[in-house]
Symmetry: C2
DNA sequence: AGCCTACTTGGTTATTTGGCCAAATACGAT
DNA sequence: ATCGTATTTGGCCAAATAACCAAGTAGGCT
């Protein structure tokens, strides 16, 4: 819990969470797995952009992908991420503006 | 839970958490409040750097400051941030490498 | 007033991030 | 083999981040 490498690792996960588009993706994936083009339609940036965001989440170990024909479906690995979101929301309502 | 502004706000908080030095600061503040120079000694960057990190955490609503003479003490506002850390650590041990 | 300590802020620089478009890749169907 | 759809990757660019040093501010103390 105190090695500098641990801090780097934890920071890396928070970094992955630190973008509104990626949070939107995670909320979507909470419901069920989605392929890239579905997420792209919902969220609306270029597909390459969505793909890169998904890759960031995957590298952080937060989501996983499986290929079905020529589509790639992503699913949430750790529901705990969403508890984190709850925590953040509580933080907001209890302490701010 | 779905307004784009909400996502931005949540992402902002994660952004504040997304740096190893700031995580180190938070762990220190968990124990008790600290002034800038104490944190600087423990962590070891330039004091101006530490001060800026503290400001990021403060702007995100995660910590608070109070002035005592010519020192500024920072303290943790939301212990829930540390639950978040726990969550991240669990994520690490259960799903990765 | 002048000095010291604690802290913050301005300026500079190097690196990272996130967007787009275009090109490459993967795979099924014709 | 070629075509079409889905996805990833490379290149480019603008903006944000994080570090440093130096200069500014704030509050005792002599």
């Amino acid at each position: 819990m105190t090695d500098n490498k641990d801090y780097e690792h934890m920071a890396g996960i928070f970094k992955a969470l630190a973008h509104s588009t990626r949070l939107q993706v995670l909320v979507k994936l909470q419901e069920k797995e989605h392929c890239v083009c579905e997420l792209q339609e919902i969220i609306g940036f270029d597909m390459s952009t969505i793909s890169r965001h998904l890759n960031v989440l995957k590298n952080a170990g937060i989501i996983e992908s499986r290929k079905v024909n020529n589509q790639v479906f992503y699913r949430l690995l750790c529901p705990c991420v969403l508890d984190t979101l709850e925590c953040v929301i509580d933080m907001k309502t209890s302490n701010k503006e």
